[in-house]
């Protein structure tokens, strides 16, 4: 993957010299092993720090509206951004929802090989023991003080990456990596099917149990590119939807609200799950809406600019089997 990394660096250098972009959002290696962190690059910054590896998990689109707004100051400013399949869908979502203009961004698409879940690796080893990390096509090789261990990449992917249908960005200005379209066609998540097969009481119990872990840090919201509202319903005071308590009822209220706000917009990038410090399985619930929107309206968010988001439009013959008829 080193060659792709240098390809990115060369490309950014070129884009900066041609003044096609003024800022670039990419990744650099984190201070901890097996982690990366967003890197905001200006023309004079050190391009060598840019990284691309299997740990580049962040959805960088979340920073885009803020970076564009800050840099713009009246003049048009191009922000370059490195986008995996899901990230590019988020960028398209932002443009569709008029948070950005297409001219503000230069999308550097990258064919995503699937991102490795650091937590899965760290459940087997301690991060303080790690001395060196290397990778080949199949494995992540971690060297310790006394020996080394190989991790099969396939077995350590993020849950949302395992059956990803959209590894190649659909919308981009340049594409890095071979532009083969993704081969996976699995549409519905098995976990969602298993969950909906449970009884009503069980489902509510699991939902409740998941959310008892929640500490309401709102990291799931802050990590999400879709959550750009300046005033979130969670913090509104007029009306005050729910109180700032650790009452489970209020926590559930927040999550129902947040999850439902993702309806027809969620690209299933998994940013909320990764951001959660308490490991709440948020994807179990957001994914259901992704599947439902796909099934009902045949819509996948963020693939193009033409299709209207499902909740901003209607058809006169939309299904209405759920409507109560007097019997």
């Amino acid at each position: 993957m080193k060659s792709i990394e240098s390809e990115i660096k060369d490309l950014i250098k070129k884009l900066f010299s041609e003044k096609k972009i003024e800022v670039f959002i990419g990744y650099e290696n984190g201070t901890l092993p097996l982690r990366t962190t967003p890197y905001f690059v200006s023309p004079n910054d050190d391009l060598d720090k840019l990284a691309w590896n299997r740990f580049c998990s962040n959805n960088l689109a979340v920073y885009l509206p803020r970076v564009v707004a800050k840099k713009k100051g009246g003049n048009s400013c191009k922000v370059g951004i490195l986008c995996k399949g899901c990230d590019s869908r988020s960028v398209v979502g932002l443009i569709k929802e008029k948070q950005l203009s297409r001219n503000d961004v230069f999308i550097i698409g990258i064919v995503c090989p699937g991102i490795i879940d650091t937590k899965k690796i760290l459940s087997e080893i301690k991060s303080s023991d790690i001395e060196h990390i290397d990778e080949d096509d199949e494995n992540i090789m971690v060297k310790f003080k006394d020996g080394k261990k190989n991790f099969r990449k396939k077995d350590h992917l993020y849950e949302c990456c395992i059956n990803c249908e959209f590894t190649t960005p659909f919308v981009y200005d340049t594409l890095i990596g071979d532009g083969k379209s993704s081969s996976n066609t699995i549409t519905s998540s098995q976990k969602v099917a298993e969950f909906s097969a449970k009884s009503r009481q069980e489902r509510w119990q699991i939902f409740e149990q998941e959310l008892t872990k929640c500490i309401r840090c709102y990291a799931c919201r802050n990590a999400c590119p879709n959550c750009y509202c300046k005033e979130c319903f969670a913090e509104q005071t007029k009306p005050k939807w729910f109180s700032v308590t650790n009452d489970l009822s209020d926590i559930i209220f927040y999550h129902i609200g947040r999850i439902f706000h993702q309806a027809g917009r969620c690209v299933d990038c998994g940013a909320c799950v990764r951001a959660c410090p308490m490991d709440v399985d948020l994807r179990l619930f957001t994914r259901m809406l992704v599947d439902e929107v796909k099934e009902r309206f045949g819509y996948d968010p963020g693939l193009n600019f033409e299709e209207a988001p499902p909740l901003t439009t209607f058809a006169s013959d939309d299904k209405q089997e759920f409507i109560t008829e007097p019997s």
């Binding site: 119990q205 699991i206 009306p239 729910f242 009822s249 209220f253 929107v293 209607f314 109560t324």
Partner: protein
Amino acid sequence: MPDFEPKIVAFLCNWCSYAGADLAGVSRIQYPTNIRVIKVPCSGRINLLYIIRALQKGVDGILVSGCHPGDCHYISGNLFARRKFALMKKFLEYIGIEPERVQFTWVSAAEGTRFAQVVEKVTNDIRKLGPLKYFRKNDYNDKKCNFSSTSENPNFLSGAVNK
């Protein structure tokens, strides 16, 4: 729970369903008195947060009613709403809220009888389910469910808003 009487909030659109309820009233059609009507300008005005807030604050069920598709006073408000309602219904059911608790329907201004029938049906459905025993604001002291019946909840619709 034979003598349980549910409290139901009905969100009715100003132009059709509210007038439909009015017609049921002036026509002296009998229907259960369990509903509390909240008039909204259009069924498109309904937000999922209204629904879960009402449930959280002590109602046992929700009825949302708007103009029939094609008859919206604002041309397409209920058509937008229909898409939203479909997802709401599916989502609430998925996370484990009984589908009968939150119901959606269409009632026109001329359908006083239909309004009465719908209210009858919804009330019966929810009466069968019994009171909402989860998610209530006061049920989670120490995150442990300590169920209290609706009738004992003094906050119901009296100063409960923006407390």
